[in-house]
Amino acid sequence: MKRQLSHIALAASLLLVGCASAPTANPKDPWEPMNRSVARFNDKVDDNVLKPVATGYRNVVPDLIQTGVRNVFNNLSDMWSTVNNLLQLKPINTAESLGRVVVNTVFGIYGIFDVATYLKLERHPEDFGQTLGYWGVPNGPYLVLPLFGPSTLRDGASLPVDFAVSPTQYISDIPTRNEVFVLRLVSKRAELLKSGNMLEEASIDKYSFTRDAYLQYRRSQIYDGNPPDEEDSNDDPSANPAANPAPAK
């Protein structure tokens, strides 16, 4: 029994090593080959389905309704942000998020109108992955999820929690629930349409550009936009070290 277990453990660790060992692998992205194929799949889905649908939505649906839809979904995620702000022991952000939800649900008619923003109550979006990050759970490897795109092991694993508590989960009619989910996706994608192919145009390898941007972005979110410097982000290789000795820090 014991030997069997150790065999299984050995096989499992070999499997992991086998997955992880591309010679020039980025330490943050050991699953790069798999991630790249999922990213290609996502791009195909986006080009052929999501982007055309979102473009149609943007062009056909009146602006006022688009804004209303966006506000309702934002209101739903503000509810979850309230809980996550509380879990991160941020009293002011918790109060503001809660205030937003109450004001928008009552005076904004189920969140259709974003009254709270006029009252200078700012959004403090927090999800469960951020809460875990706040309490020190590391990212783990970068992970590209089918349909959902860039993520990490930690964020991917906490996504089911975000979904499970979403109020839209409590719509009992399943086709309606699915329609609401699709509407949320399309509305989100339509917001991103105006940035066009920025990621593609700004990079020579869209995959690694997206990955590095996502990892920096999440890190910044976890530190509420104010992360400590990473070790070498300040260096200046253009300076000639002999002529220009580094100032003592």
Binding site: T24, N26, E122, R123, P125, E191, K194, S195, G196, M198, E201, A202, S203, I204, D205, S208, F209, D212, A213, Q216, Y217, R219, S220, Q221, G225, P227, E230, S233, N234, D235, D236, P237, S238, A239, P247
Partner: protein, 218 residues
């Protein structure tokens, strides 16, 4: 005796020296701004230009590129940005390669930045107070672009530069928590590992060519 006879001469030299130092100091002070004031004026200039010129506001990318070249680039340390994005391989590159890298990277960034500017319409820029000692040579200036929807974080790393128009130069840019220069590092390294510095230059040139070929101003 010799010492005495040279006295007026020495004094004159001292005077000229002192005047020179004073001159340099005053001109430095004249050009010296706080980093906030520098960023505020720079972004104000660009936004005013976009608001007053209709073709700029309509998103004419070529005109925006000219604007960025004239107004923004003199206040950017592009050598440092490129070197930092290229990383350790920068010092191995020949001066010619370094020059080409700077040119291609600049074309790429100016175009991307101009594309972002073309989306600009009724937003305002809020400059947050800088937390730094007065004699700091490198400072982070935090700003927020406010308009419809959630505010967008836009931060600058600036360095003191006596020869720059406002006494400061930008050497990195942060959009929504993503430092731009840092974000190029791993793909540049990846390209250099696979195809060398010339390979990276070629890839950048290709990207710029295909960007330029695309229809603009939608």
């Amino acid at each position: 005796m010799q010492y005495l006879s040279f006295t007026p001469n020495r004094w004159l030299r001292l005077m000229v020296g002192a005047m020179l130092i004073l001159g340099v100091l005053t001109s430095t002070f004249a050009a010296d701004d706080t980093p906030e004031a520098f960023i505020k004026r720079l972004s104000g200039d660009v936004i005013d230009a976009i608001k007053t010129d209709k073709s700029l506001a309509a998103g004419d990318i070529n005109k925006i590129i000219v604007l960025v070249d004239q107004k923004v680039m003199p206040s950017v340390n592009f050598l440092r940005m490129t070197a930092s994005a290229v990383g350790p391989s920068w010092r191995q590159a020949t001066p010619e390669q370094q020059k080409r890298l700077q040119e291609e990277f600049k074309t790429l960034l100016v175009r991307t930045y101009s594309g972002a500017l073309s989306q600009f319409n009724d937003q305002t820029i809020l400059i947050k107070p800088v937390r730094a000692a007065p004699d700091d040579k490198e400072v982070v200036v935090r700003t927020e672009v406010r308009g419809k929807g959630d505010p967008i974080q836009l931060d600058y790393r600036v360095e003191k530069a006596a020869d720059a128009p406002a006494g400061w130069r930008i050497y990195n840019l942060n959009v929504m928590g993503v430092w731009l220069v840092d974000n190029y590092r791993s793909q540049f390294a990846q390209e250099i590992n696979a195809k060398g510095v010339d390979g990276l230059i070629a890839s950048l040139a290709d990207r710029n060519k295909s960007n330029a070929a695309k229809p603009q101003g939608k």
